[in-house]
Symmetry: C2
Subunit: 335 residues, 2 copies
């Protein structure tokens, strides 16, 4: 067995799209486990878009990396030496094993895997974190119903391809968005989506209208930006949008104009489109509660009154300019 642990180090914080110059090969000593530790031979290293954030120099994730550190990454591998009671030689595990041949672990963040007849590499793919992302983000967050239309961006990737397949396995239609005709063919032919739109060559809004004639019930967003905007324009009543990724922003130096939804993801926030007409069943509850509040002086009000219909137009213009002070109304019939 090699006594050297070859690794890849971060050589520089990238701006824009990282290339080879931002990484360099290095070595570390072959790890020797102490009591309560074990050594994993990394078999497969997962490359994930979120790693771009880890090497941004910004504090986006729990992990932060400095120049010279072994590059962070999720791996699946095999225990080859162990002084840990829970892990034995031959066990297969996933862990943050890094861009290196061998990882030393005390078990923190390690998960034993039982690949069965499925390829071991899937444990960092559709049966690993990307798979759980699709599974929980679709089934436990957006709750697609049979017959609904689910749209997903980056549809040829592991998250997107799982989203569409899980949507169909749960009785929904699946429409993908991807960046080449070759990817779109794979999305339809290999992954069985009902349709896939090439956003680089098709007008996304028009194509969505054709692929989703009853609107989009669920949108699983991996990219943000103009793709998100186009899909928002096609939402059906009661749609659910899972904001999962912002690939369009990962390599950008500045956030795009308009509401940046990155903090919505970070905060796990829920944004709800609200139209009062849906809530008239609560009218009596509201009136009973709030009339008493007003009568008791617990709720106060200001009114911005105009006298007579002659003044209605000017008063409306005042409201539109934000110059009103309190509720704007017109006394049509003076007391």
């Amino acid at each position: 067995m090699s006594q050297i642990n070859h690794c890849v180090e971060l050589a520089a914080f990238p701006e824009g799209i990282p290339d080879k110059s931002h990484f360099r090969m290095g070595t570390r000593p072959y790890p020797e486990p102490k009591d309560g530790e074990f050594v994993v031979r990394n078999d497969y290293l997962s490359l994930d878009p979120f790693l771009r954030g880890v090497i941004s120099g910004r504090q986006m994730y729990a992990v932060t990396l400095n120049v010279g550190d072994v590059m962070f990454g999720t791996t699946v591998g095999t225990v080859i030496a162990s002084k840990h009671g829970d892990y034995a030689e031959g066990d297969t595990v996933t862990l943050g094993g890094g861009w290196q041949q061998f990882a030393l672990s005390d078990g923190d963040g390690v998960r034993k895997v039982h690949a069965g007849d499925n390829p071991l590499s899937l444990q960092v793919g559709i049966l690993g974190m990307p798979g759980l992302t699709a599974y929980a983000g679709l089934l436990h967050t957006a709750h697609p119903q049979a017959g609904e239309t689910v749209v997903v961006s980056a549809a040829a990737g592991p998250v997107g391809s799982m989203v569409g397949q899980l949507a169909r396995l749960n009785g929904a239609r699946a429409v993908g968005i991807a960046g080449s005709d070759e990817k779109c063919r794979a999305v339809v032919d290999t992954f069985g989506f009902d349709a896939c739109i090439n956003y680089k060559t098709q007008d996304l809004s028009t194509a969505l209208g054709e692929a989703c004639p009853d609107g989009v019930n669920v949108y699983f967003d991996n990219v943000g930006g103009s793709t998100l905007e186009a899909v928002l324009g096609k939402l059906a009543l009661g749609a659910r949008v899972t904001l999962c990724g912002l690939i369009t922003q990962y390599n950008a130096k500045t956030t795009p104009p308009g509401p940046n939804l990155g903090p919505v993801i970070g905060a796990r926030a829920i944004m709800t489109g609200f139209v009062v007409y849906d809530h008239y069943d609560k009218w009596d509850e509201f009136q009973t509660t709030c009339s008493r509040y007003v009568a008791d002086g617990d709720i106060r009000f200001l009114e911005d009154r105009a006298q007579g219909l002659d003044n209605a137009a000017a008063h409306f213009s005042r409201l539109m300019r934000g110059e009103n002070f309190g509720k704007s109304l017109v006394v049509v019939t003076p007391d």
Copy 2:
């Protein structure tokens, strides 16, 4: 009683902020009720920001108006003549009575009101549609908890002032955003908010950080645009955002750059920020379900493999350029 019904007609579809030139005074015959109809004397006419959409010439709401029509508007008034079994002279009602002195109605969309000791005009204000907007959009949608911080824009208006007062009556802190020092004083002194920020003179992000040291748990958005963006940047974990209005867009000829959230409101959509690390409790369920799908061929996968750590950096760059085809991974230990 006057036999003429004075009214205000739409004279032109406005671009930008409407002024008096877009309206004109007119008359209609005094309405004579037939069987099943009644006449309402409009006492108070409500001026609401959403009316800007109604006169945009776009199909934003159920109501659309043409030039020459009596301007649409909600009113509260008194039944002065009735041939309808459910409405008697002297009843007070709210309805879409329009910008006119007298409205004829068959009862459709009419609601009887019992103002009690509270002013009748409140039935088109904080005890009417704007009040229900605040009540349902806050309590039935964002579900503020005791001790949480609720932020609301257009805080001096009827919706905003109700949101903050209801937040405090339910044990939460209330922070307003308004457009003048005078409005901010009213928000704090009259409506009892904990704080109010003048977005025209203060740096909103800094001021929000000071007013909401533990972040924003609930944001009730009436305005959209840069105010929405600033508050999104301060969301606490698990925050809820009620998207209720887009005052910043009502008078704009074009929608602002970046994701336009107007369709999210129209669709009553729910957008959820999703981070997979919150869902590791579903790992076993996910693996059990999806491993079987893969083994049975019901879920397919593509992998984009590089051989050896030497190729990891170039392969990551390929992923960042979107050139990968399927799940990107590195075979660290070749078979």
